[in-house]
Amino acid sequence: MDLRMDIVVEYFPYFMQGMGLTILMSVVGVLMGCILGFFIALGKMSSIFIVRLPFVWYINFLRGTPLLVQLFLFHYAVLPTVLGSTTAITSVMVTLSLNSSAYVAEIFRAGLQSIDKGQAEAAHSLGMNKFQVMRHVLLPQAFKRSIPPLGNEFIVLLKDSSLGAMIAAQEILYWGRAAAGQYLRVWEPYIMVALMYLVLTLSLTYLLNYLERRLDVK
């Protein structure tokens, strides 16, 4: 089998652009997912059933339906209706943010609930109010425990951003499909695509390992 390196060389700048967009969409998805996920976690932990209910179903829906289906739903139906129009990139970012927020919410909830009950009791016994207990005692400890599962979630999210190619968001896989279509070759473009994702996920893995070690020192 002969590999045509000229295809790789010709498309390399596009792959790099695609990589930039993949990173951008993933970072936005992760950040928004964390912010939203935090509030959803709090909502789902409410002791009032009626308050809890919408958060439970938000998570049920986003974890219980395929991401690709969510992407189509938002890109073709929800966002055009709500915003009037949408771009592929917007749709991917919105869908990734919402989807990851559901997973992140469960990570945060598990983290918060894993903190010994005595911590909150001690803080309350000193006169701290609910907000202060959360802010100074529970969250710092829960966040530290959430870092390993959050890292996994970020890696999954980064790979899932490839679904953006299905609605022509010009990320890595989009350019792979373009190259495959132009030259009617499958090996070079898709190996290239796979390698680029591998570079991204491995970099992220090492970054997260470093972060975990750093934060363990306190």
């Binding site: 009791e121 001690a122 016994s125 306190k218």
Partner: protein, 240 residues
């Protein structure tokens, strides 16, 4: 100082406190003893509303804390609590453990809080540990820090929930020593403990609880030597 009338507490269908009546005077050291499951910890936890009260009234320093309108957080600064499991904040240094509530609740300036915290650490003999994390302390040291942390709020009453039960035997003494000192300074204290020696030496009064009731209460000498009730006798014969 503390007045408890017809206090009842249920967890679901399980009634843990059935009808508790007690008066605790200023500067009094009251030791609560009893078999496990007798409700003594729950009784203590009701006094600073860490456990919600099902029925009855509790008055602390003239304030009816069972009223809906009571400011729970303010009440808790007046009633310090020390736990069996220490419950120090592991992500904060010893000094920060003590200054955190001073800064967040009392709104003191950081320097002021640190100065006060160091004084308290000196009092419990741990000033050289100010900068370390709780992980590196022994159980006895952790409990002394926890006492210093509670004292930082300048409470009028201190509640101790089996403060030495999680400690290795050789560390019990150092914690009891700090508590004894506190009692001598005139702190009002309610202590749930299995340390009968402490009860006898430091306690002004001993309350014996069983099955959600106060069965008997008396001065330590009288209660230990002449228990009036069969259940008290049975319990004391096992622990003394």
């Amino acid at each position: 100082m503390i007045s408890v009338k017809h206090l009842k507490k249920s967890f679901g269908k399980l009634e843990v406190l059935k009808d508790i009546n007690a008066e605790i005077k200023q500067s009094e050291v009251v030791v609560v003893i009893g078999p496990s499951g007798s409700g003594k910890s729950t009784f203590l936890r009701c006094l600073n509303l860490i456990e919600s009260i099902t029925d009855g009234t509790v008055t602390i320093d003239g304030e009816v804390i069972t009223d809906k309108s009571v400011d729970i957080n303010k009440l808790r600064t007046e009633v310090g609590m020390v736990f069996q499991q220490f419950n120090l904040f592991p992500h904060k240094t010893v000094l920060q453990n003590i200054t955190l509530p001073m800064i967040t609740v009392r709104k003191w300036k950081k320097e002021e809080a640190e100065k006060k915290a160091l004084q308290l650490l000196k009092k419990v003999g741990l000033e050289e540990k100010a900068g370390v994390y709780p992980d590196s302390l022994s159980g006895g040291q952790k409990q002394r820090v926890a006492i210093a942390r509670a004292l930082g709020m300048e409470p009028k009453i201190m509640l101790f929930d089996e403060p030495t039960s999680a400690l290795d035997p050789e560390m019990v003494g150092e914690v009891l020593e700090v508590m004894k000192e506190l009692a001598q300074e005139g702190m009002t204290m309610v202590v749930v403990t299995h340390e009968m020696g402490f009860a006898r030496e430091v306690g002004d009064r001993v309350i014996f609880m069983d099955e959600g009731y106060i069965v008997e209460e008396n001065e330590p000498q009288s209660l230990f030597q002449h228990p009036q009730h069969e259940r008290t006798k049975a319990f004391l014969s096992k622990v003394l």
